[in-house]
Amino acid sequence: MELLLVLGLPLLGSILLALFGARRYAADLNAGMSLATLTAASLLVLRVIRYGPILVGHEQFFVDSFNVFLVALTAFVGFTTSLFSRPYMRIEEHHGRINPRRLRLYHSMYQLFMGAMLLALLTNNMGLLWVAMEAATLSTVLLVSLYRTRASLEAAWKYFILCGVGIAQALFGTILLYFAAEQTLGREGMTALLWTHLNAVKGQLEPRVLGLAFVFLLVGYGTKVGLAPLHNWLPDAHAEGPTPVSAVLSGLLLNVALYAVIRCKVLVEGSVGSLLPGRMLMTFGLLSAVLGAFFLWRQRDIKRLFGYSSIEHMGIITFAFGLGGPVANFAALLHMTVHSLTKSSIFFTAGHASQTAGTQQMDGIRGLLGISPTIGWGLMLGSIAILGMPPFGVFASEFLILTTAMREHPWSTPFLLIALGVAFAAIFSRVQPMVFGESDAPPLPHSPALLPVFIHLAMVLTLGIYMPPALAEWYRAAARLIG
């Protein structure tokens, strides 16, 4: 029941907003539908905590502790982003960058995107997972090109073609997976694509086919995670789309794509019986972390800067999943959570910062503290958090990942340290002049909603200082599932 609501509400919201999305109250409706989805997701979480994993709808939907926490996170960030987008889009309208018709498209697609991601997380069917991932891409393509500028069209085109080709590889991987599973599970009852069934027989699946399938699945879904060298679409799409879209792309879509990779990894590792899938994740992860960090130096656009920072962090998370074992998986899940909360809050402040300055170029953004202390402090604290400074949760997860890497694969520590160090220097030296200094820019026409920023940062801080035992137990259970 809760599950039906979680999936149905965004769909309903999308239809409603397609009809009424141009009205004045559309932004409130958007936030209301997101709140309803969040409520349904919370009920689902409570139910899973109380009664354990759920398998419903002819086994097509499956909820365990791994995906339920991502469902909660997705619904939560979806809701806070809709709160942020209310004044943000109003200011964009005021600046004449957008008209009511496009706002309708924006609101409707926003809800559809949420629905697609939640479907991808909740489905038990690997084929449906693919369909949902593709739907998530399609619903965001027109959002990236919402401003219809040359740059945004280019970014959206790149996003569509790269992710389209990527996801086609993932489809081939899924076909190979089905091919292997069909020989064990048979065609009858259509169980050969259901993750729970595959997981039960993963030891009997043909390892050669699954190994090949994993290569395709990793390349395919990895494109959407933004793993190097397939990351080209990510900074463009983040920089040129509207800021709420950058926030949900970075905070949520990357997580969902990584979730798909990890589900596949669990199956393949069980079949191949070797560490090969883990090693591949480690290689891609390290490469993305180091490359992402070095590209940070060359950025001039504030949203591109944080786009590259997302590549770096997804690299670190992928690396941690590749390490495997309870501690690294625990750290990776924690890092997924804190990265998604911190990065979305940074995009919120970065969006308002560039609205105030009238440009996304970092050279043009100065003296944020003077114009609006909340924006200035939000950006400063968010950057400190994402750089892994001690009291914040990012520090805890990065520390766990580093120590595990040192113990199990000492060769990888210098790379990780270089990535973290370079990222620190690059981001800090850019953010510092933007926050401090003098500026004569006028204040924004509508007061920004920065409450979500501080709620997110407070949560990240709490996770860094004190993790509730229930939550820790939850992460541990999820980490055990991944193996």
Binding site: V165, F172, T174, F179, L212
Partner: protein, 221 residues
């Protein structure tokens, strides 16, 4: 009744046709011709799916074949034709870089695909197993086409041809995916082409051309 052997022969013939069309696509300049070739690929997919359905006795494959006929032979080519007509691009052709070199790269890709598919084909029990290599080759050739072309529409045709290859892989290795999934894939594809249609107009409005070399401003400097 036809013998299974004959059906296998015929399927191999169709697979060869599919591969041949992929090569033809690599060398065609005119956008309209490419769309026609894409529709022919759809016809081959339709025929092969019908044959597999007949020989395996799986009735759901007939639905899948029907879906292919409607979507890939009629709907998509029609939408693309209308699009290029509305954009006034029906006589467009594009200069190609060195066709012989592209062909040679294509040949290498085919050999690579066969090598990769060989061990997997051995495991398949379906009558169509030998065609898995061809399916993979079609996917790679379409990818090559997307890389070598500069026009937005041609890239999309390459993308659709890649999807055809994937569909062929699904029928040849596994007798097709479950129906729900195929419907989902078809829906995604259709929506994707619609979005691209909107996109073409936006791109042309902004750049007054569908040539993608305008879309190269976002680069790391």
């Amino acid at each position: 009744m036809t013998t299974p052997h004959l059906i296998t022969q015929f399927l191999n013939l169709l697979a060869a046709g599919l591969l041949l069309i992929s090569f033809a696509m690599l060398s065609r300049r005119r956008t309209q011709r490419l769309i026609t070739l894409l529709a022919w690929q759809g016809v081959i997919l339709f025929l092969s799916t019908c044959l597999v359905a007949h020989s395996s006795g799986l009735s759901e494959l007939y639905y899948s074949a029907g879906l292919t006929l409607i979507l890939k032979v009629i709907a998509l080519p029609w939408i693309l034709h209308r699009l290029i007509y509305q954009l006034g691009a029906q006589w467009d052709s594009e200069p190609l870089v060195n066709i012989p070199a592209t062909m040679l790269v294509g040949l290498a890709l085919v050999i690579f695909a066969f090598g990769l598919a060989q061990p997997i084909s051995m495991l398949a029990t379906t009558i169509t197993r030998h065609t898995l290599g061809i399916a993979l080759a079609v996917i790679l050739l379409s990818f090559l086409m997307m890389i070598t072309r500069r026009k937005a529409i041609t890239q999309v045709i390459g993308f659709l041809a890649m999807e055809n290859g994937l569909f062929f892989a699904a029928t040849s290795a596994t007798y097709g995916m479950p129906m729900v999934i195929e419907l989902g894939i078809a829906l995604d594809l259709l929506v994707g082409v619609f979005i691209l249609g909107i996109f073409f107009f936006q791109i042309r409005e902004q750049f007054e051309s569908l040539d993608l070399h305008h879309l190269e401003a976002l680069k790391e400097d």
